[in-house]
Amino acid sequence: MVNPPEIARYVEAARRGDHEAFEQLVRLTYRDTYTLAFRLTGNEEDARDVVQETYLRTYRSIGRFRGDAQFSTWLYRITANCAASVSARSARHRHAELVPETQVLDPRAEHDPVQHADAANLRLNLEAAIAELPPRLRQVIVLRDVYELPHDQIAAELGITESAAKVRLHRARRLLRDRLFSGDQRHAV
């Protein structure tokens, strides 16, 4: 688990140009960044590109980080912006999306194996259903319902209007609900 005061210390040092402090920031945050990138893009190859691009942009602009938002929120926004670019680029080169094989780690793993298995199944079903959403809808539902970013920030990072972000969110929720509660119970919760 990332320790916010530790992050704040490294952010301050990195803003002053301390290269090692920036690398420590990367070490502390890259798992979260990769997780978000993977959820937004739905595949490992694009998620790698997003993470690399995210840290390059962060490195170039950390001097301008004013600290009026949490560093993690700022990083999420950069990740979302990079994911939108990478997904748009990939969509031009890729005709079919593969359903990812996700390795899930739960830091709050239950001791009860049955309960743990149920939770793991639920998570796998959800992840599969989210991965099958069209990228434009997936990005919005992940940023809003998983990471709880406000609509205006989601719209800004994806380069769309706030009302378009809301429309995509409603569509994503509808699709997800249909897939998870559909008659064939393919991804039943």
């Binding site: 290269h19 920036f22 690398e23 990367v26 070490r27 890259y30 798992r31 979260d32 990769y34 997780t35 993977f38 959820r39 490992e44 998620a47 790698r48 993470v51 690399q52 840290y55 390059l56 490195y59 170039r60 996700t102 390795q103 899930v104 780690l105 739960d106 830091p107 709050r108 939770a119 639920l122 998570r123 959800l126 992840e127 989210i130 539902i141 319902d145 998983v146 990471y147 406000p150 609509h151 809301k166 969110l169 409603h170 929720r173 509808r174 997800l176 609900r177 998870l180 509660f181 919760v189």
Partner: protein, 118 residues
């Protein structure tokens, strides 16, 4: 053309968002309509399940951290970055030099005027 059921689901989705403004009429409708309440419950279940993903990390590839470090070091060492820093700093340095030169000229004039050597 969007169906009534789609519109109803959008209203329900709006109700899930604490930040969205939903009219009293819509709220009352959802309270009284069994279909809408079912939809709201279903969407609530889905959203609360989706939120659990926040704590489930996806394991990154083993070599990713080293790749990111390498990219950052390459970026830090690249001439274009050093040049960009110079370009950013140049106007300030130029401004300071120009202000110094202007000050020196003015001071010279003042001295010459004081001693009547105009």
């Amino acid at each position: 053309m969007r169906s009534d059921s789609c519109r109803r689901r959008d209203v329900v989705s709006e109700m899930l968002d604490e930040t969205s403004v939903v009219s009293l009429a819509h709220r009352q409708h959802v309270d009284q309509c069994a279909d809408c309440r079912r939809e709201l419950d279903a969407q609530r279940t889905v959203r609360s399940s989706v939120r659990t993903l926040r704590v489930a990390a996806v394991e990154p590839p083993a070599d990713l951290l080293d790749q990111v470090y390498a990219e950052i070091r390459r970026c830090a060492a690249s001439p274009s970055r050093r040049l960009a820093r110079l370009v950013r700093v140049a106007p300030y340095v130029g401004g300071v030099l120009a202000a110094g030169a202007a000050g020196a000229v003015l001071a010279g004039r003042t001295r010459r005027t004081r001693f009547g050597i105009v």
